[in-house]
């Protein structure tokens, strides 16, 4: 009985270990030739096609909400001329990576998990291994790289659309001056903000794709298992990405001191 409880209590540790081992396998397969260029391009295109429009649609309200919140607050200080700066800072530093995380996990990751899960329960992955082909190299690596690439692009997309959305709301709804909005862009934000946003997006793409692939490839128990795998992969990715976002932000603030306008 005691061993049963112990094994139950330690089960999450085992799962975490297996996931980590899977991550290492992927890392090793990353450098193994031949590289699956075709699969990579197909997957990048596929992930981009399922995420671009939702991302743009999510980015507009993101930018608008920040503009509304910050704009109202900043008015009370009489510092309207800094609205643009605050908006850029918030969007580029936080909103863009978070928006990317939501979409890459919710749309891209779920699609990957469903695809690999279906292949797993139909024994396609077994068949592939038996044909002497490593599914990690053949299927997982191209997906991980594709997700990373697309995540970086999505990050750029959210930044642009978010800032533009903020601009529209500030200028049209809050009677801000366009010139002041644009002129204050660099007052608080700096170039490293953009780099860290892209670095975050890269890591988010990596984590989202590895979790989705891991969950998909370990789907078990028929069609229901695929549904469970997709569900778990999205939930786990969200949790991981928000934690990683926090950690990376904290490190970034330590490394690059905020600019004082």
């Amino acid at each position: 009985m005691s061993s049963l409880t112990a094994s139950r209590a330690l089960a999450p540790v085992g799962t975490a270990g297996k996931f980590f081992a899977f991550g290492l396998d992927v890392l090793r397969a990353l450098f193994r030739r031949p590289f699956q260029l075709r699969e990579f391009i197909q997957q990048a295109w596929f992930i981009a096609s399922v995420t671009i429009i939702p991302t743009a649609l999510v980015a507009i309200p993101f930018g608008a909400v920040i503009a509304l919140q910050v704009g109202g607050l900043i008015k009370q200080f009489g510092a309207q001329s800094f609205t643009g700066s605050a908006s850029v800072l918030a969007v580029v530093q936080q909103a863009a990576p978070i928006g990317t995380a939501l979409l890459i996990a919710g749309a891209g990751g779920s699609a990957i998990a469903a695809d690999l899960g279906a292949r797993k329960i139909r024994e396609e992955l077994d068949a592939m291994m038996v044909l002497g082909i490593d599914p990690i190299q053949r299927l997982v690596v191209p997906r991980v790289l594709a997700a990373m690439l697309v995540a970086v692009f999505l990050n750029g997309l959210v930044s642009v659309v978010g800032v533009a959305g903020g601009y529209v709301f500030n200028v049209i709804l809050q009677d801000g001056t366009p010139g002041a909005y644009l002129a204050s862009f660099t007052a608080l934000s700096q170039l490293p903000d953009l780099w860290q946003g892209m670095a975050k997006a890269l890591v988010f793409g990596l984590i989202a794709a590895i979790v989705a692939c891991y969950k998909g490839m370990n789907a078990a128990g028929g069609p229901k298992g695929v549904g469970d795998a997709v569900n778990e992969s999205v939930v786990v990715t969200f949790i991981l990405l928000f934690i990683v976002n926090f950690v990376m932000s904290a490190i970034y603030i330590q490394l690059v001191p905020p600019k004082t306008g």
Partner: protein, 317 residues
């Protein structure tokens, strides 16, 4: 031609549940073997262990000097190139046409040109009778066709060992006997080692050179076809003749009370041993033995009516 598989003291369990233990057998090179067993005795697990998809807890599986149970991942992927495996549902890649499915191993493993690939793929498609269906997706064809397509893909790299996971499940009796004939013809043609996992006794009685029976977490018996078909051993006899009287119950094995109640029941006589299925071109396979040869050598009298042409006709060869 063909490769021998030596299995020694193999054990596998999931958690605390032992699937089978201490399985020792040698699958002879170039022969057809059938692995039988009641549902749920781990036949498919055995097959997956043989190709290294599952790691056994103990024991060794030696193929061409490499032990699959302990070798490195890299060696495993190399040794798997010797294998062709037909999965239960064909396991075709759902996003590719049948042609691409069959061409897949060639494109991944060889540097052949597309026209060479086309020749090989069409030859294999012809072999399994699927010419004309190359452009279909696996979702658009029947289960029997998927199986045959899976067989074409398994054969495309000219394997030394071909494993069949329940080739007859979900097929009608006519298709099953066509598939059985195909298996025998293929063996005659490519001389590879064949291992068929099934619980269809009709296949088991007529197709193989050797039969193995997995029962109650161990290998009950493994040997030449005639040895098992003439065996008086209760489990073997019950299973190969599909009888209710015997140690196998509805759920795994029977308890003492049930066995006690059956004690005085007269066992039905052993049915005659049918003739082995021959290649359709009439040229005997290399591993084929004379009908009744084993029985004569070992002084066993086969059940009356064995090895008669008419009998095998009656049961639909």
């Amino acid at each position: 031609m063909g490769v021998e598989i030596q299995v020694e003291h193999l054990s596998k369990s999931f958690g605390k549940q032992l699937i089978w233990g201490d399985v020792t057998l040698t699958v002879p090179a170039g022969e057809i073997c059938v692995m039988l067993g009641p549902s749920g005795t781990g036949k498919s697990v055995f097959l997956k262990t043989l190709i290294g998809l599952l790691k056994p807890d103990q024991g060794s599986i030696v193929i061409e000097g490499t032990d699959i149970a302990t070798c490195s991942e890299k060696e495993l992927y190399e040794i798997r190139k010797l294998f062709g495996v037909l999965f239960q549902d064909g396991a075709m890649f759902g996003s590719m046409t049948l042609y691409d499915n069959v061409a897949f191993p060639l494109r991944e493993h060889t540097k052949k040109s597309e026209s060479e690939i086309r020749d090989i793929v069409m030859e294999k498609m012809d072999l399994v009778g699927l010419v004309g269906a190359e452009d279909k997706l696996p979702g658009e064809i029947s289960g029997g066709m998927r199986k045959r397509a899976g067989l074409a893909r398994a054969l495309v790299l000219d394997p030394e060992i071909v494993l069949f996971d329940e080739p007859d499940s979900g097929l009608d009796p006519v298709r099953t006997s066509f598939l059985n004939q195909l298996i025998v013809d293929l063996n005659a043609q490519i001389d590879a080692t064949f291992l068929i996992v099934t619980h269809d006794i009709n296949t088991a009685r007529k197709v193989p050179d050797n039969i193995g029976l997995l029962y109650h977490r161990h290998l009950a018996m493994f040997g030449p076809r005639e040895m098992l078909l003439s065996s008086e051993e209760p489990v073997v006899r019950q299973f190969l003749n599909a009888q209710r009287v015997g140690p196998i119950g509805m759920s795994e094995e029977k308890d003492a009370d049930e066995l006690e109640a059956e004690k005085d029941q007269e066992l039905p006589p052993l049915p005659p041993i049918p003739l082995q299925l021959e290649p359709s071109n009439g040229i005997p396979r290399r591993s084929q033995r004379q009908p009744g040869a084993w029985c004569r050598e070992h002084g066993v009298t086969p059940p009356p009516g064995s090895f008669e042409e008419s009998m095998s006709m009656a049961t639909g060869g």
